[in-house]
């Protein structure tokens, strides 16, 4: 008899039964906590019986572990007993709260006992509604935010810097510009190149007519009849500058002038000293320059 009890098989069996009990307590926690049954007591009774067969420390350790787990549960179960006052039923609470939130139940729920938002849907502002009602339970400090005025305190200089960078000539970037503006296929890139060629032609012609007399830049690009064509002229002329086919300079009166670059002077790419500038024009400015220079006829004939 003694021999059988001490066999490794029996020992293993006892340990396994303990583990089973521990597992069942952990898994069925909610169930065991319920005041409506005695499952916890049953577990303890089983444990008591098992303990009679415990011989080795290993088994005793498991017994101790089971004791810890069940005591924990017992503690919680005891705390649920309230001697007085209404109990707080979380199921009822959620039901009431869902009604308050405006839950719309699905009409064909045959199991009328089921609760929870899973059997309906909440309106969009449901949680907002709760939040608003809850606000008066909080002595929260209102969130502090600056009342931003109408003036924007940031300096505009960063923007200008970006523009300058964009103007920095790399052949690829410039080539992108026409396609972006026209948003169409290669034909328009060719059209731009054609236009640039044409303008170069005008420039050369005027220069050759009188090489000693400088051509005023604004006189060259402005079309007194069309602001948009003026802008296009400025745009196309900039390609000439970029490609080193024309140059701009300031004359003795500090007025911008433009002249074609002599054959032989043309240096491909960026080997010459490059300077960058931004030319801007607005309808107002266009009118002012027109009057100041007394420009009546466009030097660059429209196509």
């Amino acid at each position: 008899m003694q021999h059988k009890e001490d066999s490794p098989g029996t020992r293993r069996e006892i340990r396994s039964k303990y583990r089973e009990l521990i597992l069942s307590v952990q898994k069925n926690r909610e169930d065991m906590l319920s005041a409506s049954n005695n499952k916890l007591t049953e577990v303890l009774e089983k444990a008591n019986k098992l303990f009679q067969d415990v011989r080795q420390p290993r088994e005793a350790a498991l017994d101790a572990q089971l004791l810890v787990v069940t005591t924990d549960l017992g503690n919680e179960k005891a705390s649920q007993l309230s001697a007085e006052g209404a109990s707080f039923d979380s199921v009822a609470f959620t039901e009431h709260l869902l009604s308050y939130m405006g839950l719309k139940r699905l009409t064909n729920g045959e199991d009328g006992q089921q609760n929870g938002a899973a059997f309906g849907y909440l309106p969009q502002d449901a949680w907002q509604k709760v939040a608003q009602r809850a606000e008066n339970c909080f002595r929260a400090a209102p969130s502090f935010h600056y009342m931003m005025g109408s003036f924007h305190a940031e300096p505009p200089s960063p923007k200008q810097r970006i523009e300058r960078q964009r103007k920095a000539p790399t052949k690829e970037v410039k080539r992108m510009m026409p396609t972006q503006l026209k948003k169409m296929g290669d034909s328009h890139q060719e059209a731009t190149e054609k236009e640039v060629e044409r303008i170069l032609g005008y420039l050369k012609k005027y220069y050759q007519d009188d090489p000693t007399s400088p051509i005023f830049y604004y006189e060259f690009v402005i079309d007194p009849n069309s602001f948009s064509r003026t802008v296009e002229n400025i745009f196309h002329t900039s390609f000439l500058i970029r490609d080193g086919l024309a140059r701009m300079y300031l004359n003795s009166d500090r007025l911008p002038c433009i002249a074609p670059v002599e054959e032989g002077e043309v240096e491909a790419g960026g080997s010459s000293i490059r300077k960058q500038c931004i030319v801007s024009i607005s309808p107002k400015l266009w009118k002012e320059i027109k009057e100041a220079y007394d420009i009546r006829n466009e030097l660059i004939q429209p196509e």
Binding site: D72, A86, F88, F93, H96, W127, E135, C137, R139, F144
Partner: protein, 269 residues
């Protein structure tokens, strides 16, 4: 009289030296440890060396720091305050805090409260008691407040401690499943156990001997001073169609005389 403070368990040497190595957590402890509360004598002497304008300016900076930090409802650490704002004025720290508290009180109607005397954490709360019943003004509120309110109410009604599984189950019944992305709250579990905990509205503590690991929720230090238990009961009563007094235990708890943790007087420390 300088009080001797416990040397922090830091391998990098004495608490007086500025250690430039080491994790940030210990660094903050160090910063706090290097800050010893100046005596009244020291404060007096310190004030004599400064103009009123300088003290006012520093006070205003502290006030602004608090207000901005409070936007996210994250408690303010004394160590951060001293390191980033007070700086060389730390010898008159108590005077600055006193003035800041007065400013909050008189200008903003707010109370500066030290919710954690051990770790020196501060929050701002409203001086005014909340309106009982529904507010007549409806301005847009953060729906997260509703979520927080539900959890706080459940914890309170259930005696102050609740297992996390209970909370998750209730939320699920309200359409907030922590296993799924919620339309309004996103990762709702994260909001609850990270955001609300960091704000000190909730405490999320491991229960020993649980396998798999389970946690329980309690009210956090902020909730203790900021949330009105009587008003929660009023809402519960309205919701259930019962008198708040019917929950006698909770009613007692809600109306008991405020103890030291609830009295929210601004601290000078």
């Amino acid at each position: 009289m300088m009080s001797h403070r416990k040397k922090p368990s830091n391998a990098h040497g004495s608490s007086q030296s500025t250690s430039n190595a080491g994790p940030t957590a210990t660094q903050e402890e160090e910063d706090d440890a290097t800050f010893t509360q100046p005596s009244t004598m020291q404060v007096q002497k310190g004030l004599e060396k400064l103009t009123p304008a300088q003290v006012d300016q520093k006070t205003a900076e502290v006030v602004q720091y608090f207000l901005v930090k409070d936007q996210k409802k994250i408690p303010i650490r004394r160590a951060d305050l001293v390191k980033h704002v007070v700086k060389e004025y730390r010898n008159i720290y108590p005077e600055i805090m006193k003035r800041a508290a007065r400013t909050f009180d008189q200008v903003f109607g707010l109370k500066m409260v030290e919710i954690d005397p051990k770790n020196h954490l501060y929050i701002l709360i409203n001086k005014l008691e909340p309106v009982t019943g529904a507010s007549p003004i409806t301005n847009p509120t953060n729906p997260k407040l509703g979520l927080l309110f539900v959890i706080l109410s459940v914890i309170f009604m259930k005696g102050g401690v609740v297992r996390e599984s209970v909370v998750w189950k209730i939320l699920k019944n309200l359409g907030v499943d922590i296993g799924e992305k919620h339309e309004e709250f996103g990762d709702s579990k994260k909001v609850v156990i990270e955001e609300f905990v960091r704000q000190r509205y909730l405490e999320y503590v491991r229960i020993p001997h649980t396998e798999p690991v389970e946690h329980q929720f309690r009210w956090g230090q902020r909730a203790e001073v900021e949330v009105s238990k009587p008003n929660i009961l009023l809402f519960m009563g309205a919701l259930h169609g019962q008198e708040p007094q019917s929950w006698s235990q909770q009613y007692q708890e809600a109306h008991r005389a405020p103890n030291s943790s609830q009295s929210g007087t601004s601290s000078q420390r």
